[in-house]
């Protein structure tokens, strides 16, 4: 295999490693019993806690390794693969460590933070495995820059064609181009909401009477121009309108692709905004957890 995804890196060697670690942890946990209740306080609990703490520290080191560009200590793909598998193993290891004892304290806070970090990681993993394929399929082999270049070219042609139409159509098309909205705030990017507008109105009433209406997904302006075709008087005018509809439809497709691309790119990155800061918080909580454990020993 030339291209291998992170889960299957080197025949999934880190999956087996994580499984082995898990088996070991379960075995350690299982030796608890008798008079002392299973938990963080037994020697088994300490061992499991140490494993978990070391795992957490090691997992965050990925952020450093990723930026050590000339490092020859494994490949980043290998590190990421190990990060995923060992990160998944961390949840059962830590659960075995605390043996299900929770409360309103810093210990459970550390556990909860860890859970959020792991869940966000799972979300990210899903994104990494599923979204690139969708992005590639969406953009049809062109880069975002190429899509924008096409859009600008369509805009130019659209303005040119609109000049040959009557004042109302011309204004409608021109305004639909000018008031096309792409992007926006983070939430709008993620949801790919489209707040495009255009000026709609009857040509008989003149351009002054036109009003701004929603043009989400560019459908309204396409419909507007399409409605004008049967009313066309001259053959040249109708031909012009037909050409405009084709152009606006292509523009609609390009815009959809751009929005979708932005949206998917956003989803690909969103999880990191949870995963990374909470990892830092987790490290802080972990330190407090360990210190307080030893202080009240």
């Amino acid at each position: 295999m030339i291209h291998v995804n992170i889960l299957r890196f080197r025949e999934g060697r880190y999956a087996w490693g994580a499984l082995g670690l898990l088996a070991l942890s379960i075995a350690i946990y299982a030796t608890q019993g008798g008079r002392v209740r299973a938990g963080g306080g037994t020697w088994q609990g300490y061992v499991l806690g140490t494993i978990g703490a070391l795992l957490i520290v090691w997992l965050t080191v990925l952020g450093v390794r990723k930026r050590r560009y000339s490092s020859t200590f494994g490949s980043v793909e290998g590190w990421t693969s190990a990060h995923v598998w060992l990160g998944l193993a961390l949840l059962p290891v830590a659960t075995l460590h605390c043996a299900g004892l929770f409360g309103w304290n810093v210990h459970t806070l550390a556990y909860a933070l860890m859970c959020v970090v792991i869940v966000s990681g799972i979300v990210g993993l899903y994104g990494y495995l599923a979204l690139p394929r969708q992005m590639a399929a969406n953009s049809g082999g062109s880069s975002r820059a190429a899509l924008f270049a096409e859009l600008f070219s369509l805009d130019r042609q659209g303005r040119e064609l609109a000049r040959g139409c009557d004042a109302a159509v011309s204004e409608a098309v021109r305004s639909s181009i000018e008031r096309t909205s792409i992007g926006g705030g983070a939430i709008r990017q993620m949801l790919a909401t489209d707040r495009s507008l255009f000026m709609s109105g009857d040509s008989a009433q003149g351009a002054a009477q036109m009003r701004v209406v929603a043009n989400s997904d560019q459908q309204a302006v396409i419909n507007y121009v399409a409605r004008r075709v049967p009313q066309g008087a001259k053959r040249a005018e109708v031909a012009n309108l037909q050409a405009l509809i084709v152009l606006l439809s292509r523009r609609q497709t390009v815009l959809r692709r751009i929005r979708r691309d932005i949206q998917l790119q956003g989803w690909l990155q969103l999880w990191l905004y949870v995963h990374v800061p909470l990892s830092v918080a987790l490290i802080a909580a972990l330190i407090v957890h360990i210190l307080s454990t030893f202080m009240y020993w």
Partner: protein, 848 residues
């Protein structure tokens, strides 16, 4: 006329070589205390160093090659164009050099002792000797119409930004005219005056740019086709020039501020030939025959500088110094003498360097074809290797080398010395990418191959090896072992190609041995070169341009082809579609089935990239295969494997389409290409960041650019071509190939940009050095930005600007252990670097 010559020496051309020659003559005059100068320097333009004057403002001039010391009465060191010109101007004044500007030489007649040098202004000069230091650029062609002398008519364009809101006519339709017109049309109204009705001489890139520019209404660019200027007049008011244009619709009057005429140049060669000097061949790069003292076949006429084949400033200046000494009858050791001495000092002979050179030249048939100067140059650019047995002899040689090293030490760094190896040592291994060519100047060398059959051969004095990597760009096919006492010259590829292009006999010799060795390798492993001489004479070597058809499916076939260089695409036409069924790299066979049972071509063959094929006909094939040593069974097995492979591809059109895409991206000539799987790429740009962080802050790859197909993305990044286009024309020979195949640029780059122009894949950029970034921890802990891997939005420092732009390209991280940083830094496994052998697997995988 019988009058004594006015001057002992007339130097034509005040470039680096001519200036340096004149400076030496001035010094000789001063030493001899002569009252009137015994020499004259004639310069056609009104200023000295015309070519360097033409460089853009502030351009950094390099002082390569570093290993050569300057020998001139004028100063020269790396620096800005202005600084270099100022130094020479000062030197010219200080030495009171007898220079005549605007003295355009039209004709040189006469013989040694009495040459008549006629100038364009009607005057003439008599001189006993003539030095031609005119360079190779020639003089720009004039418009040749009334009014061509007005000052608003220019034959070059230094800075297009100098003009604003003018109407400018650009006359000409070549690349120079197009580039000028495009640059000027940024802020002027520009009209191209094109004699033809298309731009047939332009490079593809310029062609599409100019056509797009002309049809773009927003661009202030237009074109008069089938038009030529007839007359130019000057007016007092408004735009100063009025041009009468002859157009298909009659004469037109056009007012303009300026005319840029780019009509090409009269090549220097025509003038040189008019003096009576002969060239060894018709090739553009051919260099006139010269003696060791730069004297041409016309006694008394000397040639130095780029016309003599030396394009670098320092070389030219040194030659200027030496040639004057020779012309005055002084016997000096040339400036390159210490270099040659260093090269040869470790050899087991007690002879003078010049004598040794003579001897080698006479012993080796190929060297005999070279003129004395070309041979010296060859030795300087080559490495001289000598094999000794372990023992006192070897120790002695090392001692001699050490002594010479001390003697010849210079500011510009240690000279390259004789390389001493041990007898029996491996010179190179099979599979290494070599870029050098070896000639045996003494002794023997053993070549061993394992593939396809084990075979050993002995090469003797005068023979050469390593031609494979020279001609095909493939890795070495054999192991070479130094025989007892052998002396070798290892010549870099570029030098060798230059030599082949300028010397027909050398080219023919190398071509021939290549054919012989290919025939041995495929069909007659035990045959000697002599036995194959006949057959090698019968086969045909054919050149194909990229995309050119070689044969067509269904036609009868009566020959097989050995791919010498490049690659061949085989396709089958099914249901109206061309399905790519195989990609044949250099060194393999095409169409062999037609001589082994199936006389009909089952595929169409077409050149993937420019390629050279050796065609072996049925008769020759039969003669070869009837020999006892012919590996018939292996040939049949390989042919069967090809048939099966082709069938497998034919039934999988998806995989075939991906292969087709890869070939369309030029990967047929790649050895190591970056391929990104779009279904795994998360767009983190860690590949680019890693590249920048490991290469002085400048990424050599552009992930987002480049083409994609079926989720296979070929970003803009070096593919380390088999025959690197970038290496073709690098003046300081700064582009090299390592044993592993990486093509890289070393620190001797002079920033000329030739490689950038020559690369068809846009992977080379000219960049200033980037400032250093703070380390990871100071960024993480103290926020000193820009951080590791962060966008590096910088302005080059003054120091970086002074150094000038250098060419940057991927070096496949040859210096880093663990492989390319881009691949190692990819967190998802999307980025891989693969060679042609893995394309099929890639296409296969993507099928699902």
């Amino acid at each position: 006329m019988g009058t004594a010559a006015e001057f002992h020496l007339a130097i034509i051309g005040a470039g680096p070589a001519g200036l340096s020659a004149a400076a030496r003559a001035a010094q000789i005059d001063a030493r001899e205390k002569v009252a009137t100068p015994s020499y004259v320097l004639l310069e056609g333009s009104p200023r000295l160093a015309k070519t360097i004057q033409r460089y853009q403002k502030g351009k950094h001039v390099m002082a390569e090659p570093g290993f050569l010391a300057l020998r001139s009465d004028l100063q020269f060191g790396a620096g800005s164009r202005e600084k270099v010109l100022e130094t020479w101007g000062e030197g010219t004044n200080r030495l009171k050099i007898n220079v005549r500007y605007s003295a355009d030489v039209k004709k040189v007649t006469g013989q040694k002792g009495d040459f008549l040098v006629q100038l364009a202004n009607g005057t003439s000069v008599r001189a006993a000797n003539v030095v031609l230091a005119i360079g190779v650029e020639g003089n720009p062609r004039k418009l040749g119409v009334p009014g061509e002398h007005f000052e608003e008519i220019q034959y070059q364009l230094d800075d297009p930004k100098e003009f604003r809101d003018e109407t400018i006519l650009v006359v000409g339709a070549g690349d120079a005219a197009i580039e000028n017109a495009l640059a000027l049309s940024e802020q002027n109204d520009v009209w191209i005056v094109n004699r033809g009705n298309e731009f047939s001489r332009a490079k593809d890139a310029n062609l599409s740019l100019v056509l797009a520019g002309i049809s773009d209404p927003r661009r202030r660019l237009g074109c008069y086709y089938e038009a030529r200027p007839k007359a130019i007049t000057r007016v007092e008011r408004g735009p100063p020039l009025t041009v009468t244009l002859d157009t298909p619709s009659g004469e037109r009057l056009i007012e303009c501020h300026r005319i840029i005429a780019r009509l090409g140049a009269d090549p220097a060669r025509a003038f040189v030939e008019s003096v009576g000097i002969t060239f060894p061949g018709p090739q553009k790069q051919a260099i006139p025959e010269l003696s060791r003292r730069y004297e041409s076949n016309v006694p008394g006429v000397f040639i130095v500088g780029s016309l003599a084949g030396y394009p670098l400033i320092k070389q030219a200046m040194n030659q200027g110094y030496d040639v004057t000494e020779y012309a005055y009858g002084h016997d000096v050791k040339p400036a390159d003498y210490p270099l040659l001495e260093s090269r040869l000092c470790g050899l087991p002979f007690e002879r003078e360097t010049d004598e040794l050179l003579e001897r080698f030249k006479s012993l080796v048939p190929m060297f005999r074809e070279l003129n004395a100067l070309a041979f010296r140059e060859l030795v300087i650019e080559s490495e001289v290797i000598v094999a000794y047995p372990d023992g006192p002899e070897c120790a002695e040689a090392l001692k001699k080398i050490e002594a010479a090293r001390k003697r010849n030490a210079q500011d510009s760094g240690p000279p390259r010395m004789t390389r001493v190896i041990r007898e029996g040592e491996v010179i190179y291994e099979a599979g290494e990418f070599g870029t050098s060519f070896f000639t045996i100047a003494y002794g023997e060398v053993t070549l061993q191959t394992e593939d396809p059959v084990a075979r050993t051969s002995q090469l003797r004095l005068g023979e050469f090896f390593g031609e494979m990597s020279l001609l095909s760009g493939r890795p070495r096919a054999e192991r070479a072992i130094a025989g007892p006492g052998c002396i070798l010259m290892e010549t870099p590829r570029r030098t060798m190609i230059k030599l082949m292009n300028s010397n027909e006999a050398v080219r023919a010799g190398i071509d021939w041995i290549f054919v012989v060795r290919e025939l041995q390798r495929h069909f007659a492993p035990q045959a000697t070169a002599r036995e194959l001489r006949d057959i090698a004479g019968q086969v045909t070597v054919r050149n194909y341009k990229a995309g050119e058809p070689i044969f067509t499916e269904g036609e009868p076939g009566a020959s097989l082809l050995i791919v010498r260089s490049g690659g061949v695409t085989l396709s089958r036409r099914r249901a109206g579609q061309d399905l790519l069924v195989a990609q044949v790299p250099a060194g393999e066979l095409v169409g062999e089935m037609s001589l082994m049972g199936d006389s009909q071509r089952r595929e169409s063959a077409r050149a993937t990239v420019a390629c050279v094929l050796i065609e072996v006909g049925r008769a020759e094939f039969l003669r070869l295969t009837q020999r006892g040593d012919a590996p018939v069974e292996r040939l049949q097995r390989a042919a069967s494997a090809h048939v099966a492979e082709s069938a497998r591809m034919e039934v999988r059109p998806e995989a075939s389409a991906i292969m087709n895409f890869l070939m369309a991206q030029g990967l047929g000539e790649a050895t190591n290409a970056l391929i990104i799987d779009e279904s795994l790429c998360v767009g983190c740009d860690n590949c680019e960041k890693a590249c920048a962080e490991t290469h002085g802050g400048i990424s050599r790859l552009d992930r987002k650019s480049g083409a994609s197909f079926a989720q296979v993305h070929v970003p803009i990044s070096c593919r380390h071509c088999e025959q690197p286009h970038c290496m073709k024309d690098c003046p300081p020979n700064a582009i090299k190939r390592s044993d592993n195949g990486e093509v890289f640029i070393d620190e001797t780059c002079i920033g000329c940009g030739n490689c950038q122009v020559n690369c068809p894949y846009d992977v080379i950029r000219m960049t200033y050095e980037a400032p250093k970034k703070p380390g990871l921890w100071s960024w993480l802990l103290f926020g000193t930005g820009p951080g590791v891997g962060e966008e590096h939005d910088y302005r080059p420092t003054e120091a970086a600007k002074a150094k000038g732009k250098k060419a940057t390209k991927c070096d496949a991280c040859g210096g880093l252990s663990g492989g390319p940083a881009c691949v190692r830094a990819c967190p998802t496994g999307a980025a891989v670097r693969i060679g042609p052998a893995e394309y099929l697997d890639l296409a296969d995988q993507r099928r699902r």
